[in-house]
């Protein structure tokens, strides 16, 4: 059972009242009401976000940080105001610490290229965990390869929990960065990131946390976490695609080289050389995703209005219900049974490939993800090529869990005992 402290204090959240905020939820798929359980891949967008995008394109459309005309002032104000919303949302002390990027993936690549790369020497190490998304493995591998450094891995156990007792072996004096996922996309594990950060800081090792699956489900405060970098994607947090956030401590950002060169990130440009602006502008070359940032701001405000503790409490209850219903079906093996989980129920159906499960569920209107979830090392750990993943948001209901259960019974009917 997944329980959180928030369960005790928060008034309950009523998805019935919220669902009309999400137009895409109201449709039929193959004659059945859509049951959208693929929120870890991307979330649906509330009308507040759609309106913000619409308003920008209909009324304020212009470039930022350039023109003196009214539209440009409006769009610049909205864009920078979105930065302020992100700052508040993450509990950062300055909006200069908020860099808009394309998504969590670009945020990690930026830190790998501009922060870690120049500091890496042959024999150095980068530490990741066994449950990382490919986006938190490959960028580090690329810079490690270039520098002759190596990637080390903190292992996990068969519930999908990190083996913290192994930390002393893999966090060494050669470790130059610890990169860890806050909430696992494939397993739903909520990692004890406070402990990871404390252990790393003791050794003076900076920490990047991948918050792509945390931000949509729980309150995140980067100052309280004590990490050095935090990344997340807008589209997994009810915002538009193509926008994400890198939060970085100011003292780090200020010492970092630019990631990409171009307009808006320079102070002066001459053919003999150029000088660069202070962060975050230094890392936002070219015209940014203005509409995306504004839409993300609207999404985060929507989440704040609902209340992250309320969201967390509601989802914990829903996940607990789903775990019980789906987990008790015959022939179902749950993949990832950590004691602290958020939003994700990953499983395999005995004798049936996840792909077939996904196709059958889709015919009943139930959208789940099937595959390796961009976490092949996780699949290898559990000895499966792929899983079925139902991932929840606050707009999902118990009825939808029941629809999933019904669909899985049908899978068993078609494929036989």
């Amino acid at each position: 059972m997944v329980k959180t402290e928030a369960t005790l204090v928060a008034p309950s959240l009523d998805p019935g009242l919220l669902r009309p905020d999400f137009p895409a939820l109201d449709q039929k798929i193959h004659g059945h009401p859509l049951v959208y359980l693929d929120n870890a891949a991307t979330t649906q967008k509330p009308t507040a976000v759609l309106r913000a995008l619409d308003r920008y394109y209909r009324r304020d459309c212009s470039n930022v940080h350039r023109g003196v005309h009214t539209l440009s002032q409006r769009s610049t104000a909205s864009y920078e105001s979105a930065r302020g919303i992100v700052q508040r949302f993450l509990g950062s002390s300055s909006d200069r610490e908020i860099v808009f990027v394309r998504g969590a993936t670009e945020g990690i690549n930026l830190v790998a290229r501009s922060f870690l790369g120049p500091r890496l020497e042959p024999g150095d190490e980068v530490l990741v965990t066994a449950m990382e998304h490919h986006a938190n493995i490959v960028p580090w591998q690329l810079v490690c390869k270039a520098a002759g450094a190596r990637l080390r891995v903190l292992p996990m156990d068969d519930r999908g929990e990190l083996r913290l007792e192994e930390l002393g072996k893999v966090l060494t004096e050669r470790t130059r960065l610890l990169a860890a996922v806050h909430v696992s996309n494939a397993l739903g594990t909520v990692n004890p990131v406070e402990e990871l950060v404390a252990a790393a800081r003791q050794r003076g090792v900076p920490v990047l946390l991948d918050g792509a699956q945390a931000v949509p489900h729980k309150a995140v405060n980067v100052e309280a976490l004590g990490c050095d970098f935090y990344v997340f994607s807008g589209h997994k947090a009810f915002g538009p695609t193509g926008i994400g956030v890198l939060w970085g401590r100011r003292e780090h950002l200020e010492t970092m080289e630019p990631y990409q060169g171009g307009g808006d990130m320079i102070v002066t440009v001459g053919f003999e050389g150029s000088t660069f602006r202070e962060p975050p502008a230094r890392f936002e070359a070219g015209t940014p995703n203005i509409a995306g940032a504004i839409g993300l701001g609207a999404a985060l405000e929507y989440l704040e209005e609902l209340g992250l503790p309320q969201i967390e409490a509601y989802e914990a209850e829903l996940l607990s219900y789903a775990t019980q219903r789906i987990g008790s079906l015959p022939g179902i093996r749950l993949i990832g049974t950590a004691r602290r989980k958020a939003g994700v129920l990953s499983f395999v159906v005995e004798g049936v490939h996840p792909h077939d499960v996904g196709t059958i569920l889709d015919q009943r209107g139930v959208a789940v993800r099937v595959g390796h979830h961009c976490a092949q090392p996780v699949m290898a750990h559990f000895g499966v090529p792929a899983t079925v993943r139902a991932s929840f948001a606050f707009y999902n209901t118990r009825f939808e869990v029941d629809a999933l259960e019904q669909g899985l019974r049908e899978v068993k009917e078609i494929f036989g005992p």
Binding site: H30, G31, A41, T105, H133, H134, A135, N185, V352, H353, P354, H355, D356, T359, I360, Q363, V370, G371, H372, H373, C374, M379, P385, A386, E410, I414, F415, G416
Partner: protein
């Protein structure tokens, strides 16, 4: 609404449960590996060609019901056929899966392979059904590299 039984016909379920020619030959003459990174399907096809004729064909691997049954039925279909006949079967099979509106029998006599006609309604699953065939083609052409459904030209499906 499409009936799921059209896709998961009894023949397909049967070949998935008990794939035919599911073995590694003692002395493989030609072989190739196929891989679909989107769903993790992996297959190795072994083929023995003598005087332009497929004398033996078998496979090993794991994947969804569509890919397993397709591999199994493929081995039955091409056994004893000439290389040209096998190629023509693949063309007919491909046509069956991808050409909307065309009758199931346009690609010549596909025999049992026609049970896959339902796959046409599920574009995301076409690659599952063709993986074994692409792999066989590669084995026949004696290419040693792994066949991937996603290379060299990535397709728009998939993602994190």
């Amino acid at each position: 609404m499409i009936d799921l039984r059209e896709l998961y016909q009894e023949v397909i379920l049967d070949h998935n449960r008990q794939p035919r020619n599911f073995r590694v030959p003692e002395h493989p003459q030609r072989q190739a590996e196929g891989y679909n990174p989107l769903c993790g399907d992996k297959i190795t096809v072994y083929v023995h060609v003598d005087q332009g004729q497929i004398r033996d064909v078998s496979f090993k691997g794991a994947g969804c019901a569509i890919s397993q049954a397709s591999a199994s039925l493929m081995t039955e279909a091409v056994l004893g056929k000439s290389l040209a006949e096998a190629r023509s079967l693949f063309e007919g099979f491909h046509h069956l899966l991808t050409d909307e509106g065309s009758g199931p029998s346009t690609g010549g006599d596909l025999g049992k392979l026609e049970v896959f006609s339902g796959v046409r309604e599920y574009p995301m699953r076409v690659k599952c059904a063709t993986l074994a065939w692409h792999t066989l083609k590669s084995a026949l052409e004696d290419e040693s590299a792994t066949v991937s459904t996603e290379s060299p030209n990535p397709t728009p499906s998939g993602g994190p």
